[in-house]
Subunit: 584 residues, 2 copies
């Protein structure tokens, strides 16, 4: 599967043979997944030595370009050395976008796999007069791994508020409201949500590769590798995954709901009568039901216990010079020791000092730093997939001696978290309405974290989920500006990142709940459903007001109340919890 | 000009004659003006007895409907009694929108004057399969007033940073950037802005009816009643207003910048090669230059002086039982006593008690209340058009004994004003990012004002101007969500409105200025450029913090410094100013 120069030569010969000017490889799958199965990623890796998780590769007859953003420039430069590739730094000053680059250099006709290009993107290319030739190059790859044949599993009734039949009935209503007759769902988390099924096809994301076609008139049809199913699904006809194309050709004239921003260009182009709209399941999935909320709170406590144990382990081993990777493995062990946890929800970030200042750093077995008192902090951002919910928590643990600058920045971060968490807001507010409640203290001092304040979280599903989020402005291709309504779970994760010094982040999960109704409207607020002590030994109390200290003490009482019942006979752990949650 | 039942009959016969199902009259002009000249308004008034400034009138062969929003329901019900009209309460629960109503009742073909329908609206109607017939009914109206022939006036060089030629050069560049060859400007304030000319065609809005066609290749052309001009404009060819249609027909194939959301359907439909984009002048106009800012600050002080005199007059006459209208006339007199003030920028709102609770109440000679100590407050929202800028200020004057509820709500309103005014924000922030800084204290108590927190203000132009504003969510057809950048002037006007009790509003004008630049970006802040004392005798200091009190004292020092030099020998007024601006 490893890149070799001759692989690049192979595709360059292919380009000549097909009479195209170049070939463009995305890092994507036919379902617009944020993370993709090895089957899709490995095609890119076969032709290009870059190993990161976000990039486009553009190959011309005699040249080859890697497009990737600031997170990966250093890594990319190392990895593509002497490979024949040139790095294009996406987002850097005066660097053209991918499309601008292609247009400027007149790389047309251009080969792509239309299954892996979003329709909205395809349209943009066509509008810029780039001729696209649909070509699948996976057959050029030696020994390409196939898609997972792992079995699906059903969610028990006590894990979901609605049965899949009830969800489909809801979707039928929405289809009708839009004057459509069918809805083709191509996004994997939506399919898993609707059917109350989960799979194991993408690391950390319990989804499975499939297409789901829903229609009161034409019936419901699931396109999936049949080997993955050892049960029937009443009311749903099962077809082989590949048959989706022929099926659509037969149903192309039926008015069908499709999301142009998510559906791949190949599938989209087969239809004759499209009603462009986000999938009804998209918002349904974001608004968690009663059982989903109850279960999530339960497993959040279990997850909190794992983090508490981890923190105790960290404090006890701080002089043992363990590495960031050792600690991330230990945390994994604590999480998976619960029978309810079946996987991590993303690769654990455990980072000290300058590593923590890189927002997307994650240690590996071969690339990590030693964790000891020479560092001020260990930043740990991690989460689990549980039969009962998905978690995503960050804590910045104090391990060395904090500077006054660190104390100030840590306190600002906590103030940001508290201020937004306490917001009471009117129905109709979006993440953009609310976001400044987190950033305002930092902006006052000319500081800012270069990311959203938070994202939606799935339920036994993807840890990043739309359409809710907190972001102070709309960003292209980020769908996180929906109204925040009761039932939505959104992270809040402000931070301060100082290059070559330290990184600070504190992250909780916030459940939106009703606050009160008055003659002026419905007002909502947040309930924090992450139960993990927050470091208090590096706070500058002189810049915190009474309400903020009160919030922190109330929060720690909640953490104690949630975690202490789970600690049975472990007196040492209980006293550690008491210490970590005591009032300040 | 008055409505008579036979007028309605006349148009109903016309509907029969033309073989259409109905006729729709907007309250609009061909230029998407917020307020329109009597020539356009009177057509609606001739056929329908409603006198308010926002409504649509839908006439069928045997029925007639008035569509208007909550501000006008009471007035509308009175005015249309026994006229044959039925009121449709726009925005009320379960009430269909105009388009839904037309669709449901299958009122197609429908007659409209395409000159008075926005292209985006027209498209929406067509998309809903409503057949539109373009019919001008103004010839059915007896004695219709013609458009004003008032002369235009030039702005002196010291009133504008850029000459009209420099502005046109800028626009040429923007036209080129968009790959267009021309820009047809149809919005009247943009035309006045570009040409540094003003007129007198719409009350309170110093604009003039015209179309402006700009093209490096085809030349610049102004379409206007030639009687209005007693000078030439170098580089601009003058044509009669009506010739715009024939002119476009000759130039229809040239790629032309047009704003679909502002241009009327008649004009838009004439073009063959449209590049849809907001006019380059739109953002240019919102970002005030050096001279515009300097002049605005100067006339804001003059305007502040008029309001100070008014406040003194109010306090001295409070036992004389004058009416709201008397006071509004007195304020007008004070404003116009400055040779720089040539008009009010909108009809003055002067309202006590329950009148003040109605957001859009304005007293008239025949409809007003007495102002005396039986009322807690007199709310005055007013502004002037000056050779040097446009103002818009609200103060809530204490005239009677405040209840503790009033004191609380007044203090909340001031806290809202102060909190947003003090905001420091990162480049890229919009009004939606910032708005919650004003509302947060009220939301916490389940209160909200049902309007935006503020709007852009023109320069010797319309008092309402896009694309800047403060609003916590996007509202359809409101273009106020642009990034807030240095040079923009935006009002901030939070309030508390309690039906049958009182209305409170405090309004300043905020100039966006640069705060500082750090490695995290450009940060902006606001400078208050309204100089009018704020009532301090009804504040609950127990809910104000030190910074808020400090802000207020600093503001009052600024007001004193700005106004005192303008008060020459009037010792009594100077001591009044001192009293009203003293520290608390």
């Amino acid at each position: 599967m490893l890149f070799k120069k001759e692989n690049l030569k192979k595709i360059q010969n292919y380009i000549k043979e097909k009479n195209i000017k170049g070939y463009l490889i995305f890092t994507s799958d036919p379902h617009d997944s944020e993370y993709v199965a090895p089957h899709f990623l490995d095609v890119r890796k076969y032709f290009c030595p870059f190993s990161g998780s976000a990039a486009e590769v553009l190959i011309l007859e005699n040249e080859a370009y890697l497009f990737t953003d600031g997170r990966y420039w250093i890594q990319a430069e190392k990895e593509i050395k002497d490979s024949g590739y040139t790095l294009i730094k996406k987002g850097d000053k005066n660097v053209p976008s991918l499309l601008e680059f292609i247009k400027k250099n007149n790389i047309s006709p251009l080969g792509v796999n239309l299954f892996e290009m979003k329709m909205s993107e395809y349209e943009e290319f066509l509008n810029n007069d780039i001729k696209i030739v649909d070509l699948d190059i996976s057959n050029l790859v030696d020994n390409l791994v196939s898609l997972s044949k792992d079995k699906l599993f059903k969610l028990d009734n006590d894990l979901t508020t609605l049965t899949y039949k009830e969800k489909i009935e809801e979707i039928y209503k929405k289809i009708e409201e839009k004057n459509a007759k069918a809805n083709l769902v191509t996004t994997l988390d939506d399919i898993a949500f609707i059917l109350n099924l989960r799979g194991n096809d993408i690391p950390n994301n319990p989804v499975f590769y499939a297409y789901l076609y829903l229609s009161k008139e034409e019936g419901n049809h699931l396109f999936i590798n049949k080997e993955k199913l050892d049960f029937e699904i009443e009311g749903i006809t099962i077809h082989p995954y590949e048959e989706i194309v022929d099926f659509i050709k037969l149903h192309k004239d039926l008015p069908t709901l499709l999301d142009k921003n998510r559906v791949n260009a190949k599938i989209y182009s087969l239809f004759n009568n499209i009603i462009n709209s986000s999938n009804p399941s998209y918002l349904m999935k974001a608004i968690k039901g009663e059982k989903e909320i109850e279960n999530t709170k339960k497993i959040q406590a279990i997850d909190g216990l794992a983090l508490l144990k981890f923190q105790k382990y960290l404090e006890e081993n701080i002089d043992n010079n363990l590495s960031e990777y050792d600690y991330s493995e230990k945390l994994k062990e604590y999480r998976l020791s619960s029978s309810l946890c079946f996987e991590l929800s993303f690769e654990t970030i455990a980072a000290v000092g300058s590593n923590a200042a890189e927002m997307h750093y994650a240690p590996t077995k071969n690339k990590n730093s030693i964790v000891n008192k020479d560092n001020i902090e260990l930043l740990v951002d991690s989460g689990g997939q549980y039969y009962g919910g998905t978690t995503d928590t960050t804590r910045t643990f104090l391990i060395g001696k904090p500077t006054s600058e660190f104390i100030h920045d840590y306190t600002l971060t906590l103030k940001a978290l508290i201020n937004l968490s306490k917001t009471i807001f009117l129905e109709g507010s979006t993440g953009q309405t609310i976001d400044i409640r987190s950033r305002e203290f930092m902006w006052k001092e000319g500081m800012d974290y270069k990311c959203g304040t938070g994202h939606g979280v799935g339920y036994i599903l993807n840890v990043h989920e739309g359409p809710n989020g907190f972001r102070y402005k709309k960003v292209k291709d980020r769908d996180d500006q929906a109204e925040i309504v009761p039932g939505m779970i959104t992270t809040i994760e402000p931070g301060v990142y100082k290059a070559n010094k330290y990184g600070i982040r504190i992250e909780n999960n916030l459940l939106c709940v009703k606050a009160f109704e008055t003659s002026d409207g419905n007002f909502f607020k947040f309930e924090t459903i992450t139960y993990v002590p927050i470091e208090t030994r590096c706070l500058d109390l002189s810049i915190m007001n009474k309400e903020e200290i009160e919030w922190l003490n109330t929060y720690h009482k909640l953490v104690y109340d949630k975690l202490s019942p789970l600690i049975k006979d472990d007196i040492s752990l209980l006293s550690f919890l008491k210490e970590k949650t005591k009032s300040i």
